[in-house]
Symmetry: C2
Subunit: 293 residues, 2 copies
Amino acid sequence: MHRLKVGLIQKKYSADKRANMTANAASVRNAAKHGARLIVLPELHNTLYFCQTENTDCFDLAEKIPGPSTDFYGSLAARLKIVLVTSLFEKRSSGLYHNTVIVFDKDGSIAGRYRKMHIPDDPGYYEKFYFTPGDLGFKPIETSAGMLGVMVCWDQWYPEAARLMSLAGADILIYPTAIGWNLRDNADEKNRQLDAWITVQRGHAIANGMHVISVNRTGLEKASDGKGKIDFWGNSFVSGCQGELLARAAADREETLIIELNMHRNETVRHSWPFLRDRRIDAYEGIDQRFRY
Amino acid sequence: MHRLKVGLIQKKYSADKRANMTANAASVRNAAKHGARLIVLPELHNTLYFCQTENTDCFDLAEKIPGPSTDFYGSLAARLKIVLVTSLFEKRSSGLYHNTVIVFDKDGSIAGRYRKMHIPDDPGYYEKFYFTPGDLGFKPIETSAGMLGVMVCWDQWYPEAARLMSLAGADILIYPTAIGWNLRDNADEKNRQLDAWITVQRGHAIANGMHVISVNRTGLEKASDGKGKIDFWGNSFVSGCQGELLARAAADREETLIIELNMHRNETVRHSWPFLRDRRIDAYEGIDQRFRY
């Protein structure tokens, strides 16, 4: 159990949901063929990133869970005997939607769900319009591939979230993501943003002594109202337990990363860097406040 | 007030306390001459890093605060009209010592003190023998150069500490440090450690949208019992508010970094990345627990 081969599926998406699902399945099969036992898809991998505009028609993209998409991906996981991390637009009720991760175990059953806790709202990322913030907390999902600390995109900027997953026994942190460049930014700004995105997540790996898997989409997507576009920056990556980059995809093309992780590093790295030993839990009062004055 | 010129003093130290203090003062004077208004010295800059062994004689290195060292550095700050961040071995009472930062304002008065909260204890860093963990919490120190979120070394691995300083209104994070390589580690391990040290602190800059200043000592120091030695790795640096490296010193030599910071970046970067807006303060319960199961 110390060796875990993982697959990261970085893809472009179109407006054709059925075609996206078929293409995802092909990539997952290919990763499984190469031995991956834990496979991760990007955020909202069944559709375009529809949050570029606020459009009530997009609520029709959401699905009940369980529903057709969980049937589809559950069967796939069972057939390939893999643990599969999917990211779906969940319709919980009329007028109540979440940005939800569903994890399937290798028998195809739903091992658990995570509802995105931190919801962004920025030009081109109007997620507060679509998604109610998650109400399931930061709880790792138990699977045959380990305790998975799965979160989603904007969560990745929050050290509190990574720490809570770590304290709850996560073996690894996993972030399906949809993040990209605004075409109006210059090259320096784009580089700073991409580097910050990787760096803050490597920081979680270091502070918690565990691997981090981050899987992003790639490709240019236009907003449905024709007013905006996002150049999704790819760069899906795996960080080791000391923050070292173990694998990293290109920015501008589909790519599947297959890499074997030594999960025993969670143990050995924390022998040398026993950060959990010394946390000042008597002095963290106020961290659950909005601001301290 | 948007422009703040800072000076980072990376130095080697000897067993001669008076010589160390004189050399520190010369470097501080030089940085002030180049326009630095906020100057930071490394951790425990009056002495060798005595924590390589557990030796009761070393308690004699500690001083009352205020005392001779605060008189010395306070006069220096007043003469140069600078804000000065110093790191002293504080004797609070017989048998009660702290690893303490004293910040002087430009009139030479003590603007505030911070007692190192997270205390390491690892081979070569036997700090739990010498220092009682701080009891002043994570409170920025108000100075004419801004609200300084000053912590010390091992604190730099804890995102909770950086966040608490941020929530309490810090304008900048500052870490006097004494960290180095164990000579038995190979080059790969040494590189991973150094890179992790820089990365986790850049992560704090990103997650909190503020600059980070980290000042380390340099040079090889032997333990007083002849049994160990640490190769202090220098690499003092300044990170920008998006985690970008603005300045970085060499590993193996004394160096003074002088750099002008644009403190208005705290404002503009947080317009684009409003992480503080979306914190799930309703869902961080348990972060002040030792472990969650």
